[in-house]
């Protein structure tokens, strides 16, 4: 498998995992007859920010 194919596949798998997480969040909100709350949005934001910070740490550690 070429590097580009492997990278595209990796992105696909990661996106599917996160789409599943999003789906669970929305379904839970729908089941309670409400929209996604600001607290839930802030939780997602903190998680995304942590992922960006991890990426930056890996970049800084890379040769």
């Amino acid at each position: 498998m070429g590097t580009g194919t492997a990278l595209a596949l990796q992105l696909l798998i990661t996106t599917l995992e996160h789409a599943s997480e999003l789906n669970a969040l929305i379904l839970a909100a729908n089941a309670q007859g409400r929209d996604v709350t600001p607290d839930e949005i802030n939780g997602l934001r903190d998680k995304a920010q942590a992922s960006i910070d991890r990426l930056q740490a890996s970049i800084d550690a890379a040769p």
Binding site: M1, G2, T3, G4, T5, A6, L7, A8, L9, Q10, L11, L12, T14, T15, L16, E17, H18, A19, E21, L22, N23, L25, I26, L27, A29, N30, R34, D35, V36, T37, P38, D39, E40, I41, L44, R45, K47, A48, Q49, S51, I52, R54, L55, Q56, S58, I59, A62, P63
Partner: protein, 140 residues
């Protein structure tokens, strides 16, 4: 003599198409295939943030496994920061225009903010471009 900057194989083209389809799947309203539709502003914001998370995680994995260069990873990190910031600005514009209702603690879904919608749409377009960028890197 001409030189192709990016000449994907059939498998890479297929996978890139698949990735972009999933991006649309995550960002747009997709009620088919069991996915809950992102039919409100707040749900679209949530989808955008989750997509930023996915891009950063995928780039981190690709960098540590040697499939992505340091410079490309830096570009993705910068793009992810811009996208996350843009989404939160759109969210702020929306909550300013559409205050939270008591008890439910969410804005009225019928409330619209053209300014917030424009900001979110443009940021999600940047995010889609960022995923395309990441998907094509490593093939060069």
């Amino acid at each position: 003599m001409t030189r192709k900057l990016f000449a994907p194989s059939h498998a890479e083209t297929f996978l890139l198409g698949l990735v972009l389809a999933v991006v649309c799947f995550a960002i747009a309203a997709c009620s088919s295939l069991g996915m809950a539709p992102t039919d409100t502003f707040e749900k679209r914001v949530a989808a955008g943030i989750v997509t930023v998370d996915a891009v950063a995680t995928a780039a981190d994995n690709a960098l540590t496994s040697g499939k992505l260069s340091k410079q490309d990873a830096q570009n993705v990190a910068a793009g992810a920061r811009v996208a996350l910031s843009g989404i939160m600005v759109a969210q702020k514009l929306y909550t300013d225009a559409c205050p939270l209702r008591p008890v439910l603690e969410t804005p009225d879904p019928a409330c619209k903010s053209a300014e917030a919608a424009t900001k979110l749409d443009s940021t999600l377009a940047v995010l889609t471009a960022l995923q395309s960028y990441l998907a094509t890197k490593g093939a060069k």
